[in-house]
Symmetry: C2
Subunit: 312 residues, 2 copies
């Protein structure tokens, strides 16, 4: 009943040729919780690593309702029209239950899905953010080896996941709404500080005036923060993903960020720091999961936490 | 040559009687890196725990030069004049080298040092923030058992240490300067979001005008953040620690915060969350230090990190 799995060598060769089917299969192996897939997944990643890295990695976050899917579709279409190959991945640990609260429904990106220079993949599932993030990082490597030069990582701005995404991208974009007052609802603390830019979406029609006011306010807020290590002053840009307005401006801004950080050496330095961080993170995650998954530890910890809850 | 150490029982009895010498000795045991002191320290903490917790824990941070020592002295004197017993501790992992960049020089708090209702202790030393923070947390318990009802924890706003302090206090106060522009220099990202209040210090004489402007600006910035779990809207207050102005207002504000959070149940809930966090943190710290201190791991990790640095 089960199809014969292609060999590791065959998969790697096909990935390097840009074969999407092979890329999807390899990502499925990376995402698998089946221990027998682990070795093959690691072998593929190892073979792909020398061909990775030559890309721009862009993180995009924003609360539900901000128009992330519409934005990413418009952004992806603009990029492919400029000759880029765009991979869209997602990090959403909550999707384990809901099975894909973001990017799960690819039909929301109708035009981009059909585009042969775009690859869209929903969030891997997993019980821990650490696991989901690791799988996504490995998928980035595979996408890059398959020739994708622009990697977009989507996440929801409500949990810890944007910290993980922030630590795997070169540029971090926060999407906001222009609606009166509610542009500030539900953002996780610290996200504004992580942002390299804030794009105020749905800045069209009757929203335009409020969006312009929000732009002034955010610009003021951003200036309250100390200078970033990248020496980049975060920008605020208006856009309407639905009308496909402002999208080119955002890409132009990201391009000038890349030019700036490549010139100063920050880009390269930052990637190395991220790689070191992830090496340590992977070791720590493994160390912790090995420990906390022991039945004896689980039982005892539960007892101790209950004692605290009971105030003892 | 060495004096006989008092027994654990004797130390505990004296601590519970409010004996400062015994308290200092016990803290020295907690801070000791001598493994033979570990058991006694743990026994003392265990015996003191049931007598701890009945206090207010206030974190105070701010960059060097903001006037922390002067502020804490004025604040401590105000509190003791209201009948409080005040313990001042510090968290400063960098002090391992400098031996006390904060609170090391007690003479900076001349009046408070002489006050019999105040206890001042410089930062424990230690190579890791985790270790320093754990020692401080244990010292809090000892101080509370000795009858101190107001614990002030000082830290410098330039590293990771305020996150640690934030997670051990009920109220987190950020001290700022009013000077044009430089009130925003050198703050670590995220600190503003942690603050329950910002006190703009040195708001006196020629600085007063700038301080008032800064107050408006910070109030605006604070309103950009989502509501805190405590449902407390962070305040901005002007003060002059040197002139001892605004200090009573700050204590009044903290009192109303306490009243609010005790009424809503947040105070109790938050402390339990902190206790659970610290249980897990202590386990993780131990797990990691056991692992990363193995010589074989150290050597191999160094090799791997160098490979990343070399871009391989």
């Amino acid at each position: 009943k089960r199809k014969t799995q292609p060999t590791t060598e065959a998969l790697v060769t096909q990935i390097l040729e840009g074969n999407i089917t092979a890329l999807s299969r390899a990502i499925t192996l990376v995402e698998s919780s089946n221990p027998s897939h682990l070795n093959q997944a690691n072998a593929i990643i190892k073979a792909c690593l020398p061909h990775a890295n030559a890309s721009v990695r862009i993180g995009i976050t924003g609360v539900p309702g901000v128009g992330k899917s519409t934005f990413i579709e418009a952004f992806g279409i603009h990029l492919t029209s400029e000759g880029k190959k765009v991979a869209v991945l997602a990090v959403d640990p909550s999707s384990t239950l809901s099975r894909g609260s973001i990017l799960g429904d690819k039909t929301r990106m109708d035009d981009l899905v059909k585009n042969e220079n775009a690859f869209i993949r929903p969030s891997p599932s997993g019980t821990s953010l650490g696991g989901v993030a690791r799988k996504t990082r490995e998928s980035i490597i595979l996408c890059e080896a398959a020739g994708f030069d622009t990697i977009v990582i989507e996440t929801v701005g409500v949990g810890q996941s944007e910290t993980a995404v922030h630590s795997m991208v070169d540029f971090f974009l926060l999407l906001k709404l222009s609606g009166a007052g509610d542009e500030l609802q539900g953002i996780k603390r610290g996200i504004i500080e992580m942002a390299d830019a804030i794009a105020i979406n749905k800045a069209d029609g009757e929203n335009l005036k409020a969006a312009k006011l929000a732009k002034v306010e955010f610009n003021r807020a951003l200036h309250l923060y100390p200078e970033k290590d990248s020496q980049w002053q975060p920008k605020v840009i208006l856009c309407s993903a639905l009308q496909r307005e402002g999208i080119a401006d955002i890409w132009e801004m990201i391009s000038s960020y890349l030019e700036h950080t490549k010139k100063t050496g920050f880009f390269e330095r930052h990637r190395k720091l991220q790689n070191k961080f992830w090496l340590l993170q992977t070791i720590e995650d493994r160390l912790k999961s090995d420990f906390f998954n022991r039945q004896k530890i689980k039982t005892e910890l539960k007892v101790q936490l209950q004692l605290i809850e009971d105030g003892k």
